[in-house]
C-alpha cells in the first residue's frame, strides 16, 4: 500500500484520529488516540505492520514538546509507515510494548534519553545510563552536571577548538 492508501484506510477506520503532517509522509497521532491507532496498525490484515523498526525520541528545542517517531515495516505487505506522537513534558504516551515486544527496550531508551514516559510499560527504567543519573541527556536544554558522585566533571573544552 502507498502512503496515501494507508492514510485513507486509517481515515476510514478511525476518522479524525490521525492527521498527515504537511509536506511529509508522516502521520501525527495524539497520545489519547495512539492506543487505538496502534492496534489498527498491528491487527488489520491490510496494514499488518508486524515489524517495529525503531522508536526515535526527539526534542523540538522549545523545552515543552517532546515526540517519539515510530518507524514501522510490514514483512508481509512490504510497506512502511512513520508515525509521530508528540506530548508535552510531564504527560505520557501509551506504551505499545504489548503489541510489539521490540518496543519494550526502545521505549526504555526513549525514557532514558529524552524523559518521555510510557504509560503501561511493564518495566520503565533507565537502560543505557545508570539508575541514579539525573536529567535526560538528549534534551536540548540538558546541562552536563558539575559533579558526579562527588567527582568533578572536567569542563575544559579548549582542546576541542
Amino acid at each position: 500500500m502507498t502512503f496515501e492508501e494507508i492514510v485513507a484506510f486509517l481515515d476510514n477506520k478511525a476518522n479524525g484520529k490521525s492527521s498527515v503532517i504537511e509536506g511529509k509522509t508522516v502521520i501525527l497521532v495524539s497520545p489519547e488516540n495512539w492506543s487505538e491507532i496502534s492496534s489498527i496498525l498491528k491487527n488489520e490484515s491490510k496494514l499488518n505492520f508486524d515489524y517495529l523498526m525503531c522508536i526515535s525520541a526527539y526534542d523540538k528545542g522549545d523545552n515543552k514538546v517532546y515526540g517519539a517517531a515510530y518507524n514501522f515495516y510490514s514483512t508481509v505487505n512490504s510497506h512502511y509507515l512513520e508515525v509521530w506522537v508528540e506530548v508535552e513534558d510531564g504527560t505520557s504516551i501509551p506504551s505499545v510494548a504489548e503489541l510489539w515486544k521490540a518496543a519494550d527496550w526502545h521505549e526504555r531508551e526513549a525514557y532514558d534519553m529524552m524523559g518521555i514516559k510510557f504509560e503501561g510499560h511493564p518495566d520503565l527504567r533507565r537502560i543505557l545510563l545508570s539508575d541514579d543519573w539525573e536529567g535526560y541527556p538528549l534534551r536540548k536544554n540538558y546541562k552536563e552536571p558539575d559533579y558526579y558522585h562527588g567527582l568533578p566533571v572536567p569542563k575544559d573544552k579548549s582542546y576541542w577548538d
Binding site: M53, Y58, G61, E82, K101, W105
Partner: protein
Amino acid sequence: MEANLIDKSVIETGEMVLNMGPQHPSTHGVLRLKIHTDGEVVSKIEPIIGYLHRCFEKHCEKLSYEQIVPFTDRCDYLASMHMDHAYSIAVERLLDIELPGRVEYIRVIIAELQRIASHLVAVGTFGLDVGAITPFTWTIRDRERVLDLFETLCGARLLYNYIWPGGVSHDLPPKFIERTLDFLDYFDPQIDELNNLLTTNKIFIERTADVGILPPEVGINFGVSGPSLRGSGVNFDLRKNEPYSIYSKFDFDVPLGRGEMGTIGDTWDRYYVRVLEMRESAKIIRQACAQLPDGDVHAALPKKIRPNAGEVYGRYESARGDVGFYIMSNGKNIPMRLKMRSPAFCNLSVLSEISEGWMISDVIAILGSLDIVLGEIDR
C-alpha cells in the same frame, strides 16, 4: 535405619539469581546478565547494558555530517565499513545525490569483504563459547587477510573512516582487485575445512542443535534481524528484498535456516547461516570485481553537507542485521537529531525469551549465536 542428617526445612529451593559479567569472556564485551535460575534451569534473564555508552547520539548533535563518520566506525567495531556505509546511504538519501558507478562497486566489494571478516569472528568466537578452541585460531587467521587488504586500502585495520557521504576517501590501491581475488581463491576451501572441523562436529552439534529455538513470529515481534532472523527461516534480506546501492545487479542467494541438524531456528541454524553467507559474499565480490568500472571516486563528494530540512530513515543490512539511521535535519550543517537503530540491541532483547527453560551453559551458546557487539548496543 537411615539417619535424617539434613533438615529439609532449611534448604532453600526458591529462585536463585546468578550474576554473569560485566567482565566475562562469554558475554562478548561488557554485558552483564542477571540470570534467574531454578537449579540450573534458567527462568528469566535480565540483560544490563550501557557499560560502553559513549553518547554517540549526543555527540552527533554537535558535529557536522562529515565529522560523524569516525564515530559511526566505533559503533560496531567488527563491521565498521557497514556502519559507515549505512550512515552514508542515509545522508545521501537526505541530500538526494547520485553516485558514480565506481564508488558503488568499491563500496559493495568492501562491504562484502567486511561481512566475511565479521562473520569469521562471529563463527570463531561461537566455537570458542561452546569449547572449540581451534576454529577460532583458523578464522582469525583468515580474517587477518581481509584486514591486510583493508590496510592497503586505507591504512587502518579496525576503524577505517573509508566510506564517506558522497564517495570513498581513496580510490582502490594498485593490485587491490588481484589481491582480493587471490584471497577469495584461498578462502573458498577454508570454508570446507571449517565445516569439517566445526560445523559437522558431533560434539558441536550436540551442544547447539535444538537449543534456543527462535520461532519466526517471535523474532519479528522482537525486531530481530539479520542472520539471527534468517536462521529461523524468515526470508528477509534487505540486499534482496529492498536492494540499496547496486545489489540488484548481482546474483546471490539468501541462506536460510532449514533445521538440518535439529529444529528450524536453533543455535546451529543461526551459526550455519553465517557460514553460508560468507560463500554468498564471496560470490558477490567476484561479480563486482569483474564488472568494476573506471571513474573518479570523488566526483559526488559534496564540499559542505547542508541538507534541506526533513527526515530520513535509512536501512542497511549489516553483518548483524538491519541497521537504521534516522536523521532529522533542520537545514543546518549538523543534524538536529540522529538516532541509530542498532540490530544487536534488538537481537539481545530476545535473549530472555529464547533462553527460558535452558541450562546456564546453553545460555552461553544462545548468546554466542546471536552475535552481539556491545559497542553497537550501547552506542
